[in-house]
Symmetry: C2
Subunit: 260 residues, 2 copies
DNA sequence: CGTGCCAGGTGCCAT
DNA sequence: ATGGCACTTGGCACG
């Protein structure tokens, strides 16, 4: 930890923030503040105690005591302005594109902390939509016995078809994969099916493959003669274990503190 | 600030976390850790230094040194488990619905902080889609001269029409408002127009009103004989100033520390 | 409670 | 840069 100051006064705050905000440090300021934002929209946040975090890439977060989400933020700050005034410490964070500004006015500072985090590890995640695509291609029978995948990402005037296949009777099958299917998914699938039917002048099946389904969406599908096949997310994830094991290795964590 | 401990050992960590995680405090733990998540998806995050924040409503955030987003998180935690072991401090955060778990293994603790934030202010924001709706209703000529709004949220079999209106020549006009229009927006508007044309057996205009537009979406609109009208977000926001001023008042901030 | 839908969405990868 | 799209989307409002 580089620095921690409890109950700093505004001039301490100005000094520390001016020194560290623009550099490769994680800076935290907590205290009683109000926040204004103007840019793509405009917001006002009255006085309250919050935790403000400036990350090492200049991302800015204003967190209240609740919620996953910050109350205000700036994904990337291009210009900082810090000014201690008689009755407040003003912190302005401006972003150029889009042009947006977050202004934080502290009336009281509870603490101020400067640290540096070293983290070169990437998050490895499995369970995205693309992983379902891969599972289907590896093992088409999770959708249907004797299904043969013809093409992935087949282009049509209406967009890209996730998986294009033929069933055991030779029918063309359009497969749309969605992690979180909704009303729109059905319309999208419908459009693809229409496109392919036009193209081949044949009857074409449309299957929505998803790990979950709601009654409403299912009704909507069936009204249109489309089908649903559920897929277990655990199976999709499981196929990753083997891949992952083969690539497993110790992390090469080696703290390499860099200043600036 | 309730507590701050620099370089706590695992048993300090266990003690403090056990005491405060389940209560109405903001808890921060920073240190070298690895994180596993399993639930709707599955992820692994190798060793690295991170800032872990538990908010007063039990939201959990695992922030790396960069990015607006946390690397792992839990919007709401139902069950905590903390255990100091010989070589690590294990923190498990489980959520019941959906069933998900985040496991954080600290190999080294840099600091541990317990605070309590008091914030009863609501964020007032202007610039949402609904605000565009209101602007149109207040002053339809921002879309077109002599436009008359007939109905808002008119229901059709294809969904709700944002604004239903008539132009100076008496034609029906379907208006779809979008803050971030895309490909799907066009299809949605098309469906509404089709519905209304069926209903009245008349030619019906469709207008997409949005603060921004891309060439691709514009082409797609025009191919279908639909129109686009841009709206200045600043105008939408401006109309708020007057409303806001009339309601402006001092915040009644009054720190009321509650334990549990 | 499920369902739909917006978001200052953010982030990622394609062209 | 721009567009198109998925997200452990989160969050809210509504039936």
């Amino acid at each position: 930890m580089e620095k921690i100051i409890k109950n700093p006064d505004f001039s301490d705050g100005e000094e520390i923030l001016s020194e560290y905000l623009r550099r490769n440090f994680t800076v935290q300021v907590s205290g009683l503040c109000s926040v204004n934002y103007q840019g793509r929209a405009k917001s006002k946040l009255d006085r309250g105690e919050r935790l403000v975090i400036k990350k090492q890439d200049s991302a800015l977060l204003v967190h209240g005591p609740e919620n996953y989400q910050p109350k205000n933020w700036q994904p990337e700050v291009d210009e900082w302005e810090v000014k201690a005034q008689e009755d407040e410490l003003l912190l302005k964070a401006r972003r150029k594109d889009p042009d947006e500004i977050v202004e934080i006015r502290f009336e009281d500072l509870e603490f101020l902390m400067v640290t540096q985090l070293v983290d070169s590890s990437d998050l490895k995640i499995r369970g995205h939509e693309i992983d379902i695509h891969e599972s289907i291609e590896e093992d088409p029978k999770i959708v249907e016995e004797e299904l043969k995948v013809v093409e992935r990402e087949r282009e049509t005037p209406a967009g890209f078809i996730d998986v294009f296949a033929r069933d055991s009777e030779g029918n063309y099958v359009v497969i749309e994969v969605k992690r979180n299917p909704d009303y729109n998914t059905v319309l999208q699938l419908q459009r693809y099916v229409d496109e392919i039917e036009d193209e081949f002048s044949l009857n074409v099946r449309g299957i929505l493959v998803a790990p979950k389904m709601t009654d409403k969406v299912l009704d909507y599908l069936e009204e249109r003669g489309l089908e649903f096949v559920g897929v277990e997310m655990e199976d999709v994830i499981a196929s990753y274990e083997t891949i992952d094991n083969s690539q497993k290795g110790l992390s090469d964590f080696n703290p390499d503190y860099e200043v600036d």
